[in-house]
């Protein structure tokens, strides 16, 4: 497995789902960390929101942007919650 062949599942919700017009996608990436991955996706198709407005869940858990991502991970970008 080379770094470039890492595959990440991205699920989109709310604003991200609408911006991407998709509930999710599998992405091949060489990004080492969550923030690198976000910037890579954003460069490909701009999300319209900066990482400063967003948090990230890795395999269902909130993690810092500097967290390493590994093959098979599921990533969700979280805009501020509006429940309640």
């Amino acid at each position: 497995m080379t770094a470039a062949s890492k595959r990440i599942r991205v699920e989109y919700y709310a604003q991200f789902r609408e911006m991407r017009k998709s509930p999710g996608e599998d992405v091949a990436t060489s990004a080492a960390t969550a923030i690198e991955f976000y910037r890579e996706l954003d460069a490909r198709h701009p999300f319209g929101v900066t990482a400063a407005q967003v948090r990230i869940a890795l395999n269902g858990k909130l993690v810092p942007w500097e967290t390493a991502i590994t093959d098979g991970d599921t990533v969700v970008f979280l805009t501020p919650f509006g429940g309640g």
């Binding site: 709310a14 858990k61 969700v76 979280l78 501020p80 919650f81 429940g83 309640g84």
Partner: protein, 146 residues
């Protein structure tokens, strides 16, 4: 009372009397509930309806953790929280919380704790539909993203 995972997401209208009956216990001297309802205005805009969307896996886990924390912290006999998903109309119940305890102080405090933590920690998003035909994803202004 031995309550299993007590956080639920519901695409259907919330049946409060059914949920209340799930919180009957002979040792409970207090039952306190909170209903969050859809109101017809937000920040000066006339709201027609709204949608809730959840990241279900994480929401269920975080919601269950909030209930567990509340149960320990306030020595509850039981607690339940149900949050709606999907399209809601004005007046609909968006979220229902019930807590039972030996005495009232704990149940009151637990309801407040649960709603505050759910708003902060459970990945649910709200899209408002306005009378003028526009829509917007909204979050409380107090929400701070690190």
């Amino acid at each position: 009372m031995n309550q299993p995972s007590a956080f639920q997401l519901s695409p259907e209208p919330i049946d409060t009397s059914l949920l209340s009956r799930g919180l009957l216990d002979a040792a409970a001297g207090a039952f306190v509930s909170f209903e969050g309802r859809v109101r017809n205005n937000n920040e000066g805009r006339q709201v027609l309806s709204l949608e809730y969307e959840a990241y279900v896996d994480m929401a269920m886990r975080e919601g269950a953790t909030v209930i567990e924390e509340a149960t320990r912290r306030f020595d509850l006999i039981g607690a339940l929280c149900v949050h709606r998903t999907g399209l809601l109309s004005i007046g609909d119940i968006a979220v229902w919380i019930g807590a039972i305890s030996g005495h009232r102080e704990e149940a009151f405090a637990a309801c407040r704790f649960i709603i505050d933590e759910v708003k902060l920690r459970v990945p649910i998003w709200k899209k408002e539909h306005y009378v003028d035909g526009s829509t917007d994803w909204v979050a409380p202004p107090s929400v701070d993203t690190p």
